[in-house]
């Protein structure tokens, strides 16, 4: 457990509560459509594919690739101001959805586009864990 986690915490809403409650149990849940099977991120009120409202949650394998990544040398968000340089990555999950996250367990200089990654969870407060991604095998 990180003793003093200063970065922004999830402001949990009814829409994304299942995602964050699962994350606290170290499980990655992505919203999906019970009618057409489409998966997407971030959570929404209806399926953007078939427009259905019979929605559920699926657990992807948690593996994917770094579709792209950037390094912040300047911060705007309180809590991240002292963390520069830090990375933000677009994770392309193997199941299709893209997920904004951070790559951990590797120096920023060593991150590569298309690098295989897998989800890992950082416990930041009691009952709050953040899904981040680490290189496969690390």
């Amino acid at each position: 457990m990180t003793s003093e986690y200063e970065k922004p915490m999830p402001r949990v809403t009814d829409l994304d509560r299942p995602h964050w409650e699962a994350a606290a149990k170290h499980q990655l849940l992505i919203q999906s459509c019970n009618d057409c099977g489409h998966m997407w991120f971030p959570p929404a009120e209806n399926c953007p594919n078939c427009l259905g409202t019979n929605l559920g949650w699926k657990e992807p394998k948690g593996t994917g690739k770094v579709h792209s990544f950037i390094i912040y040398h300047q911060g705007w968000l309180p809590g991240y101001l002292k963390s520069t340089p830090y990375n933000v990555a677009i994770i392309q999950l193997d199941e299709g959805p893209r997920f904004i996250s951070n790559v951990v367990g590797i120096d920023n200089d060593d991150i590569e586009v298309d690098m295989p990654v897998q989800v890992t969870f950082e416990d930041v407060a009691p009952d709050v864990s953040i899904p981040r991604f680490k290189p496969v095998g690390k």
Partner: protein
């Protein structure tokens, strides 16, 4: 042709600009009125001639059409809010070509420099909560993601990206309206600090105060205008809502169908384009536009743009006013202003005038995941 009823029918007969940079004595709405006043004077029309008013709002609450319309003392046939410069031009063309309006004023102004907007907000729709948790902020992030992907896909380098900022700095050095006027080389570009790597400070739009306004009318009426101005002879449009979900999100996917519409409906060819203006809030936008509009092969713009090709005097001068990183933050409005200035052979100094300017292209889009508009302006009167 699908656009036959609107292309070749509408001219820009008036342009107005305020100083750019810091205008701390003026509210955003003051600046809007100022820009409108300048455009009206330039057009030679009377205020009562304006029967259409389209205003783009700005951060901080400025630019509400009801407020601007009231301050202008107007009671037009149409008075509407628009969300982008490209939308303003498109609406104006439709209103005039349909006959619903005769003379449409389009206006944008902001004092967000004075208001200290820092663009730290969420990057994409619906992602706010998730953006913050992961430290994703500033819309320049989308362009940084784009360029990182281009480096992997096509071997582009950071030095090659510097061709854009360097070219625009040379243009700005000649432009009295530009806020930042020091020219720098591509080598000097490499010394600027990273903001969101791989992008450096001068790859980002500045934040500045200022305003622009234009007045459009039918080509028929333009014949008798003080400045007949250029005619709109090409138009493209493509909305974009898929953002990160689009498979080609890294390569400005709304531009490809936009380009198809543009080129299939005009007699202008790429070789006719004497200058190109790309809304460049972040410099990688220029490479995407060069490829998607077919000025070079897909995946080659970072090579194609080297060696002065996009500079004044080059094969295709791009953003010769300095762009959003050197001239002013004006979300595309400065592009059309400078294009019309060039087409009227009225560049502020002769050294920045495109010789025999006749046909110029302007694209409008705030970023790689956003909607796109494009226009070709040609002197016909």
């Amino acid at each position: 042709m699908p656009l036959a009823n609107v292309l070749g029918k509408v001219n820009i007969i008036g342009i107005g600009a305020t100083p750019q940079g810091k205008l701390p004595e003026h509210s955003g709405d003051d600046i809007a009125v100022w820009a409108f006043r300048e455009a009206l004077k330039d057009s030679g029309l009377q205020k009562s001639d304006i029967d259409g008013l389209l205003v783009q709002n700005s951060y901080g609450g400025a630019g509400q059409v009801k407020e601007i319309g009231h301050r202008l003392g107007l009671q037009p046939v149409v008075g509407d809010q628009v969300g982008a410069h490209g939308e303003a031009v498109q609406r104006a063309v439709m209103l005039i070509a349909s006959g619903m309006c005769q003379n449409v004023a389009i206006v944008y102004a902001t004092n967000q420099r004075t208001n200290r907007n820092t663009f730290g907000a969420s990057v994409y729709h619906g992602g706010g909560n998730f953006d913050d948790v992961y430290g994703l902020s500033n819309p320049g992030a989308t362009a940084a993601f784009n360029y990182r992907r281009r480096m992997k896909d096509f071997g582009a380098t950071e030095y090659q990206l510097g061709a854009i900022a360097s070219a625009q700095s040379k243009g700005a050095a000649l432009n009295p309206l530009a806020v930042y006027r020091e020219a720098f080389s591509q080598e000097e570009y490499m010394d600027f600090r990273y903001v969101i790597a791989p992008l450096r400070l001068v790859d980002f739009s500045m934040v500045s105060d200022g305003g622009f306004a234009m007045i459009l009318t039918s080509k028929e009426r333009a014949k008798d205008a003080k400045h007949p101005g250029p005619t709109i002879v090409g138009m493209g449009s493509q909305a974009s809502f898929l953002e990160l979900d689009h498979p080609d999100a890294m390569y400005h996917p709304s531009q490809l169908p936009n380009a198809k519409m543009l080129w299939e409906n005009t007699d202008v060819t790429r070789k006719d384009i004497q200058a190109l203006y790309v809304q460049d809030a972040y410099t990688p936008n220029v490479f995407s536009a060069l490829e998607n509009y077919g000025f070079c092969e897909y995946g080659t713009a970072h090579e194609w743009a080297q060696g002065g090709r996009i500079e004044l005097g080059g094969e295709l001068p791009v953003n010769i006013h300095g762009g959003q990183n050197r001239m002013s933050y004006m979300v595309g409005w400065h592009n059309t202003y400078d294009a019309v200035t060039q087409l009227r052979d009225e560049a502020q100094t002769r050294e920045r005038q495109i010789p025999n300017a006749n046909t110029i292209m302007v694209t409008v889009s705030s970023g790689h995941w956003q909607s796109t508009w494009s226009y070709i302006y040609r002197n016909e009167l």
